[in-house]
Subunit: 280 residues, 2 copies
């Protein structure tokens, strides 16, 4: 029997401002590159000997409060219990920045795959419109709108869009990728400061989908288009320009949901069968 | 009768990270210098022809959601209604940064003095202890504590310290400045993320007083000293080292309270009589 390599599940968060997104890019800083370098230092492993797989690939400037990735350690690598316990603190130290925070490190349960075991992703989007209190402390993760947005209409849109649909009208096109997704939640609240916060949840998202959904809601909230207009445009199933793709800095990945441990492996198999080659 | 110059009341906020505090300093960026340069540009006035007076002089790294200052325009300067209305937007533009946000500009009511008319100042201090969710988006304005802090004991301390006292034990000494202040509120809550937030309100604060008060609360919350210890040390009326002065970045000025317009002038006279030469 072949030796089973050690798979770690790592939970983390980051302010995306200074990164060109999660994914490694030549000559640009990325969250993934920072974490892989730190892992290499702490585990004394060559970077080429392991790789990371993430639950939700965030774009440049997008933040995460609860990102999840896994890493497979080389088969001949032994990680002691003490080393595992010390890993969050040592990894945080090796990162040398608090723009990325390491929350939790654990041995992954059998069959766990950070990407394919995930049941859903939940994002928040923050907009300070005319009715919101100005707050310079939140400028890195909320977008200022010079209009008064009608959150009731934006919530009507949210309800109208829910369900399993082809979201091509909201997605940056990708070859061989499906744009069929199940939108499970799209609702708005105003917090105590008057800031509009969207919660957007789906089994998975195609590229720029959340920011395009929010853009359609802003257009509806300003009274430029109606809920019916958005629903009609979605049925055209082709990339549209009726509303803006909102800026990245307002967007934060707030949770990744996984099934109970016993179902991790089956969920990964099901997801792979359904959407290999698709974006998260 | 001498011509009365125009006094403006300006409300603003700022993230203090990049500034060496409110007050102008040689060769270091300050909030006051940034605002005076922007005012000079927008009003086409020489910087030497006006000056600003602030309600609460914040230290390097301290933030403000609701700061207030006044500025007296030269006697021969005419500000039209249209120019006054356009001032917030133009001032924001001339600042060239969203680290400072201009909230409101208005003609000051008769007798108004941003510093001496103020009835009280309210600050918040944010601590993410072991029980709090890690949030990299809040790292610029909250302090991480590696301990679990007991907010009940911290609230007991808050109640025990209220009232009119000599706060010399909590203050950076200043020549000819009184350290007698009335502490009106010092309470702790945990927000939905588990972050401890102190609200600290007094008629005025001497230098480093809020951060020293919070330091004493952290020492009590960790169980290093008791509420009685802190009260006893305060009676020694001399600067102490039993607890730390907490880092600036956790501190935010959240409001300045003024009396009704009719009482502005009298309040300014009363305050001046009571505490000329003191710090705010």
């Amino acid at each position: 029997m072949a030796r089973v390599s050690t798979r770690l599940r790592i939970d983390c968060g980051y302010e995306g401002t200074q990164f060109f997104g999660w994914g490694i890019q030549p000559s640009h800083p990325s969250v993934q590159a920072s974490l892989e370098i730190a892992l290499g230092i702490v585990l004394r492993l060559d970077k080429k000997s392991f790789q990371t797989v993430v639950a939700g690939r965030t774009d440049a400037g997008v933040h995460a409060l609860a990102q999840v990735f896994h890493v497979d350690l080389p088969e001949d690598f032994h990680l002691s219990d003490a080393a595992l316990r010390a890993l969050p603190r040592r990894l945080q130290g090796a990162l040398g920045t608090d723009a990325i925070s390491v929350h939790h490190v654990a041995l992954a349960p059998p069959g766990f795959d950070a990407r394919f075991s995930a049941l859903s992703r939940t994002y928040e989007y923050r907009i300070a419109d005319l009715a919101a209190r100005k707050n310079p402390l939140h400028r890195k993760f909320s977008v200022v709108s010079p209009y008064r947005l009608d959150e009731q209409r934006m919530n009507e849109l949210g309800v109208a869009l829910l369900g399993l649909h082809d979201w091509a009208a909201f997605c940056r096109p990708r070859v061989a990728a499906t744009t069929i997704r199940k939108l499970q939640s799209f609702s708005w609240i105003r917090n105590a400061e008057g800031v509009l916060i969207a919660t957007v949840k789906a089994d998975a998202f195609c590229r720029s989908m959340v920011r395009s959904l929010v853009g359609s809601a802003v257009a509806v909230g300003r009274g430029k288009i109606t809920v019916d207009d958005v629903a009609r445009v979605r049925e055209q199933k082709a990339r549209v320009s009726q509303w803006p793709v909102m800026p990245a800095k307002g967007l934060t990945l707030v949770s990744i949901e996984y099934p109970p441990e016993a179902d991790m492996a089956q969920q990964a198999l099901d997801t792979r069968a359904r959407r290999t080659l698709t974006s998260d």
